[in-house]
Amino acid sequence: MDRNTLIIAVAIIVIVLATGVLYFLMKEEQPITPIVSDQKIRLAQEQDLTFVELTEEEKQALKDQGFDAPPSGEDSKTKSLQLVNTSDEVAAIAADINATDLSGLDAELAEIDKLLSGL
């Protein structure tokens, strides 16, 4: 390998490396386009309501009277109401407003009525 070939080879390697470094630097500087519809956050709710934990005996007493044990775990309706878009674009805000489903907020009333009747 003569001297000229070596110089050309080194030059090519330097150019390739420099192009690579430049590419990565430019990529990092590009602004991130906000994705309005996909970015959501969950609103935190104050945890000041404490449920009375039913004992095994109380659960059995409920069952004996023909009632289901109270649902445990997260309520899907509550969870969906807590999810909102992060964007403050009017279109995203309007989407949150339109996506609000207020049906079934009082779904528990009938069961409460049954549980309390005759007491």
Partner: protein
Amino acid sequence: MKTMRRQIFIAIVLGALLVAGFAFAQTTTPSTATSTRDQLKLRAQELNQLKTQLRQERTEIFQDIKKERTTLRTEVKTMLQNYASSSLEERQEIREQIKNQRKEVKENILALRQNLKENAKLLRENFREKFQNVKQRARIAAAHGRGLRMINRYRAAVQRFSHILGKLESRVEKLKDRGVDVSSVEPLIEEAHDMETAAEAKLEEFKDNYEKLLSGEQKVSEIAGKGKTIAKELKEEIVKLHDKLKEIVRAIAALERPLETSTSTPSSETTTPETEDNE
């Protein structure tokens, strides 16, 4: 023989000690039991006193909130009537006045929340003592749990709208900074804030109602009936707030549209938001 005599002696001493122990126990046990009973009685008295105190405080706060809300609603209506024709300074003053009045209601709501939190601890401490019958106790605890679950759902709806309202408000501020006349939207924002406050106050009333189940001081049928009434009223308040937010979005979009056509903006900003009117 000597060993036997020693064993008899030890047996007599042990026997004497045992008898003395029993005798001592018999003389001391009643006094310990009496003092424990006295302590329990005293504790129960203290708890009752505390509960009564919290209840009285709650009644007063509820009355204050009711009065303040009525005043707020009437005054806000009057103040906002001439809002559009007022000068910039006057508008600022009107908004400040409304904000201050609303602050008073919000402070009372917070006080109520704190009161209910303290009361909740006492109620749970005494719940199983109060309801000795396991069948009755189980049904009350289950109904109470379902009540809280429902309250959480309503709360999430109010919280969602508060969050959205905050965003809309900041959007209006941005428009104002760009020199846009926002006098048509600001009264709507104030009205929405009042609805939000009304819903928050109603939520505390809702919570108080189902907490009463654990106290055993009110007829359960009355609590169930009141729960239905509050649920209906709260739903109405929330639906009204929902409609108001839709109205605000439309008003803001109308203000933003001329700006978007005059300047080249990204496509996401030029989207005209459509709000559905049907529930």
